[in-house]
């Protein structure tokens, strides 16, 4: 059985790239191949222009694996010091960096506590600090918000955005699609080891033949009459999101000409048009559709 099959993927420098896929799709295998933790039976992975797994490349990479474990006998500060040494960080820069990162992930109070006493969320914070210890150019994160409460998730998101602003490329592997949607510039979806979809978030979530129209009607019955008389036009379902105060959200499916005809009808009925935009699906809807229906877009 092939864990990955004919996969050709490029992560642009400076991007936040999300890798999605159901369990067993090959996401973790891809990361392991990139870092030399596993060896490919064919093909190659290059990171920052050099072969994946190259020792020199790993000095510029940060990695947070899923279900990471730290030696139970170490404290949080000792864990960071240990991995700082392995990353080749010299003193006194290492100690300063360790203390700074413990403060940054709000773990300074727990610096002298053995990691075996840490909660899942604390382990994730420490893991993230460990991953960015060497100011990596390429950051690989496998489920970074797993087990973290909403406040913690927000903090992790901010931290990752800081890393992006610093110029780091971030490769994110997560099941939390809302997080991926908020953070990532580009996304790839794997299914059974094959790449089934790849693109920017805007590109993937845009629905080609549907629009949302925010309108300001003189009266509800008048608007209802126009909607009933215009083919394809209907009130947007509540799930589509709330319109601004005093406005109503409509939607229309069809070609661009249908949308223009609907706009003409609305204007003719004295309805004000506040906004027209292509309707978007959530990343979760896209993901489920791709995985369930095999829709390759």
């Amino acid at each position: 059985m092939r864990a990955l099959d004919g996969l050709d993927l490029t992560v642009p420098r400076g991007a936040v790239f999300g890798l999605l896929g159901p369990n067993g799709a090959g996401k973790t295998t891809l990361v392991k191949l990139a870092l030399g933790i596993a060896h490919p039976s064919g093909g190659e992975v290059r990171i920052l222009g050099r072969p994946g797994g190259d020792v020199a490349v790993r000095a510029r990479v940060g990695y947070l694996p899923e279900n990471h474990r730290y030696p139970a006998h170490l404290t949080g500060a000792q864990v960071l010091d240990f991995f700082g040494r392995l990353s080749g960080l010299p003193e006194p820069a290492r100690s300063l960096r360790v203390e700074g990162l413990l403060r940054r992930v709000r773990m300074e109070e727990w610096r002298a506590t053995p990691v075996r006493k840490y909660s899942k969320g604390m382990m994730q914070r420490l893991g993230l600090a460990q991953a960015i210890l060497n100011d990596p150019d390429f950051l690989i994160l496998d489920e970074p918000t797993d087990g973290v409460d909403p406040v913690g998730r927000r903090e992790i998101r901010d931290l990752l955005l800081e890393q992006k602003a610093r110029g780091a490329t971030i490769f994110l592997n997560s099941h939390l699609l809302s997080e991926v949607e908020r953070l990532c510039d580009r996304v790839a979806i794997l299914k059974s080891g094959k790449l089934v979809r790849e693109g920017g978030i805007d590109e993937l979530t845009r629905t080609k033949s549907a629009w949302e129209i925010d309108v300001r009607a003189p009266s509800a019955p008048a608007l209802a009459a126009i909607v009933a008389a215009t083919p394809g036009l209907r009130p947007a379902p509540p799930a589509a999101g709330a319109a601004a105060a005093g406005t109503t959200m409509l939607e229309i499916e069809g070609a661009a000409a249908d949308m223009n005809r609907a706009l003409d009808a609305l204007r003719a009925g004295g309805v004000g048009i506040d906004a027209v935009r292509p309707r978007r699906e959530s990343l979760e809807e896209v993901f489920v559709k791709v995985i369930r229906d095999g829709d390759a877009g």
Partner: protein, 296 residues
């Protein structure tokens, strides 16, 4: 810096497990007993009196006895003989104990390192796989070796302080046992890489330890396979014995050499030590080659 990091972490892990701390305590107790309980009076290299826990020692035709009679005059016991005797007894008890406890303490080092979530992190750092495994091995060897050096160095120094006799053979025997431990530890590292299980690694290493001692008899008394009637079974048995004898660390021969060093007996050949070191190096090499190829 990276190797030092692994060495430091290995030392911390071993201290956390406390098995070697227990051995350290036993050795320290031995030192204290020798320091506080053993009193000797030496004149011209001859023991005039020996007291252990206040009991006076008397040489007898069958050996040496302790009682609470006050001895008068010289006992006629050679100080060097007393030192070698005490060191021999200590070596007989504490060398095997030290090696077995060191094996128990270090058995989990490699399997723990190879656990999912731990190995992924280590391999993502800029350190090569051979360096990582070798540093782990070296850390275990240094800590266990330090305990053996503490044992022989302490006992040697205390006895020298009490009797004026330095037995370099005892110190050399400590180094010899450290080398033996290095060899058997390499086998445990190899088993750890293959099975990734502390229990299996420890059990199989204990078997290697025992078989390494027993196979020497089968090797030396070459005629015993004649008891096996089937020529094929006889050939296979002989071949197995010879392979095991040449591949495994030579527990019996090295132990015998250690006692010879302590008792100043001549050593016919250093070959068993070289063979033991060679088999350890081969095991460590195999472990490194295998570790380089494994997909985690």
């Amino acid at each position: 810096m990276k190797i030092r990091a692994i060495l430091l972490d290995t030392a911390r892990e071993l201290l956390y497990r406390r098995t070697l701390l227990f051995y350290f305590g036993v050795v320290t107790l031995t030192h204290l007993i020798l320091l506080l309980a053993l009193q000797t009076d030496v004149a011209n290299g001859v023991i005039s009196s020996v007291r252990v826990f206040g009991l006076e020692g008397h040489p007898q035709s069958s050996g040496f006895a302790l009682d609470n009679r006050q001895a008068a005059g010289a006992l006629g016991l050679d100080a060097e003989r007393l030192v070698t005797m005490v060191q021999f007894v200590i070596a007989c008890f504490l060398y095997p104990t030290g090696i077995l406890l060191s094996l128990f303490a270090t058995a989990s080092l490699v399997p723990h390192m190879l656990e999912k979530g731990t190995i992924d992190l280590l391999l993502s750092k800029p350190i090569s796989r051979p360096t990582l495994l070798f540093a782990r091995y070296l850390g275990a060897l240094l800590i266990a070796g330090a305990n053996l050096v503490y044992l022989v160095g302490g006992v040697g120094t205390i006895l020298a302080f009490k009797t004026g006799v330095w037995n370099w053979g005892f110190l050399l025997s400590g180094l010899l046992m450290t080398a033996y431990f290095g060899s058997i530890l390499a086998f445990m590292v190899l088993l750890g890489v293959v099975f990734r299980s502390t229990t299996i690694g420890m059990m199989m290493t204990a078997i290697i330890y025992v078989v390494g001692a027993m196979v020497r008899l089968a090797h030396d008394y070459a005629d015993w396979p004649m008891l096996i009637t089937s020529p094929v079974a006889r050939f296979l048995t002989r071949a197995t014995v010879e392979v095991l004898y040449h591949v495994l660390p030579r527990t019996y021969a090295v132990g015998q050499m250690a006692t010879s060093l302590i008792l100043h007996r001549p050593i016919d050949s250093w070959m068993p030590v070289l063979a033991t070191l060679g088999s350890g190096a081969a095991a460590l090499g195999a472990a490194i080659v295998l570790f380089r190829r494994i997909d985690f």
